[in-house]
């Protein structure tokens, strides 16, 4: 690509939207009618893109370096455990696992809920506009679920408060209350719908309503973030 200083200045001005309306029109007309000019412009755009991307690649290479040095530091700190000890520990673990399975048998529905339920992180910005709601979210984060629920109750029409109270009820194993709340949350189209669907199924399961739990899991769409979790849980329920 051999370009004059004038060409480069013109291309830059066009890309950065610095031309007047008339100049822009002339430029575009030339692009349409002059093939060599068009080819030069395409080559220039591709070069410009490379210049921008070069920075991204250089940054990513730096992250690689950081990872590499973090790995080396960890290696230095790791103690080497004799292979015989690893073998012994593995044998003990296998014996313990089989003994537990033999004596306890299949997990209960409530065990399955406990394994599959992770209270959703507080992803809401605390703005200080609704103090009780903020306080409720803080209590929720601190795992003080009963106190959080009491504060969320002041916001029966707020979908965020409703969702987090559902999470708090489920964390407290109050399945009936959780079911009622999730059903309300799912009546509107919001950011918590995917997680609410899965957690509603868990609440049904905790309540020993396997049929409704399965139906709810089966209704989870492939696009949902919880599709794989739902499929795995269905396999366990079978």
């Amino acid at each position: 690509m051999e370009l004059s200083a004038e060409h480069i200045a013109l291309f830059d001005a066009y890309i950065r939207n610095e031309l007047s309306a008339q100049e822009r029109l002339n430029f575009e007309e030339k692009l349409n009618n002059d093939n060599a000019f068009k080819q030069d412009f395409e080559a220039f755009k591709s070069f410009e893109q490379d210049m921008f991307d070069a920075e991204v690649i250089a940054f990513k290479d730096k992250l690689d370096e950081w990872d590499k040095s973090a790995k080396e530091n960890t290696k230095e700190k790791t103690r080497i455990i004799p292979i015989r000890l690893i073998g012994l520990a593995a044998s003990i673990a296998i014996i313990v696992t089989f003994s537990i399975l033999y004596f306890i048998g299949q997990p209960s529905h409530q065990d399955l809920v406990a394994t599959n339920f992770q209270p959703y992180d507080n992803i809401l910005t605390v703005r200080g506009e609704k103090e009780d709601l903020d306080e409720g979210l803080m209590r929720y984060e601190a795992k003080e679920y009963q106190a959080a629920i009491a504060l969320f109750e002041g916001y029966p029409d707020n979908i965020n408060a409703q969702f987090y109270s559902g999470e708090a009820y489920l964390a407290l194993n109050d399945y009936e209350a959780a079911i009622n709340v999730y059903k309300r949350v799912l009546q509107t189209d919001g950011i918590f719908n995917e997680v609410s669907e899965f957690h509603l199924a868990l609440a049904y399961l905790g309540n020993n309503n396997t049929q409704l739990a399965k139906e709810t899991l089966l209704a989870i769409q492939k696009e949902s973030d919880y599709f794989i979790n739902a499929e795995e849980l269905l396999v366990e329920l079978e």
């Binding site: 830059d12 410009e48 991307d53 070069a54 991204v56 690649i57 940054f59 992250l63």
Partner: protein, 186 residues
Amino acid sequence: MDKKATIQSIQNQDERVVQRIYSEFKPKFVNWLKGKYKIGEQDACSEIYQRSFTVLFFNIKRGKLDNLEASIETYLFGIGKMIVREWWREREQDNKSLDLNDKDDLAQVDLLSNAFNGNEIDDDRRRKLAKAIQAMGEPCKTILTLFYWERNSMEAIAAKTGYKNEQGAKKKKYLCLEKLKKQMLK
């Protein structure tokens, strides 16, 4: 360090801060990928984290997050979700559209797809280009970095580098590009 100060430090490219938050978020992010998306391979998790963090870094650097409502961590995980879907699409040739909410902070995010989707030859050329820019003498290094990487206008570059006017800086930039081209052909 609060959100505003962190954003400021990233925009100033304070390497210590960037490295600290990179290491700080990584374990949680990787566990999240393994737990939520069942991505088991460590290399895949590292690649997705690096991409997500790079997107976070450049969107902050380019001033797209000055009014960020969520926390930086929440935003990073939001980007992660988009990168995972893109990563899956690349592998499964799946053309499903991203289900994104236009109202949230993520609506304007630039996923830097062009930079990430190049082949090895593209990456090598860009790597060589980045090295060549960094190895250039002054004022070329500053002029090209300010123009392409900091997105300054030629007027601002003229003011920062002491040229009398925009035209002088433009002429110098042209000469710098010529020099860079020669460097690349070596």
